[in-house]
Symmetry: C2
Subunit: 82 residues, 2 copies
């Protein structure tokens, strides 16, 4: 299953509760698209959030994020990792 890194750029001031809530909103519905959100890292100062996931394609990742209320600004397919 391909991996993806998606980036949200407008999450300035996000706190732990909001990050957990946003992640749960994704994982609650991820099965419907065959997606699995693995981890998320946030920088509340810049507003950047990075999400690592597995799924069939970028569109499936984006559909989950859109339905969860936080469309990703960028999505990259990760074909190499170390």
């Amino acid at each position: 299953m391909p991996k993806f890194m998606d980036v949200h750029t407008e999450m300035k001031g996000i706190d732990r509760d909001k990050l957990v809530e946003a992640h749960k909103a994704d994982t609650d519905i991820e099965d419907s698209e065959g997606v699995r959100f693995l981890q998320a890292w946030a920088d509340p100062v810049s507003g950047k959030v990075f999400c690592l996931s597995e799924g069939p394609n970028k569109e499936a990742i984006q559909r989950i994020h859109e339905r969860a209320g936080h469309k990703a600004d960028e999505i990259y397919e990760i074909s190499l990792e170390v």
Copy 2:
């Protein structure tokens, strides 16, 4: 120890050997700045590489990347993860 996500944007066409080599160039000298590079994810199509690290501050991460020959384009301090 704070975590950081840094982003390289000009690595189109990177392959497994080059990613491993670049990561090793970082880890070979990371101790000199008290940095630890944890993981890296690459999308050779867009040229994006995301590196997760721990270290004292952004400047220390950048000094390692610069000495290793691949300055980061962006560095974010990660204060929240899930």
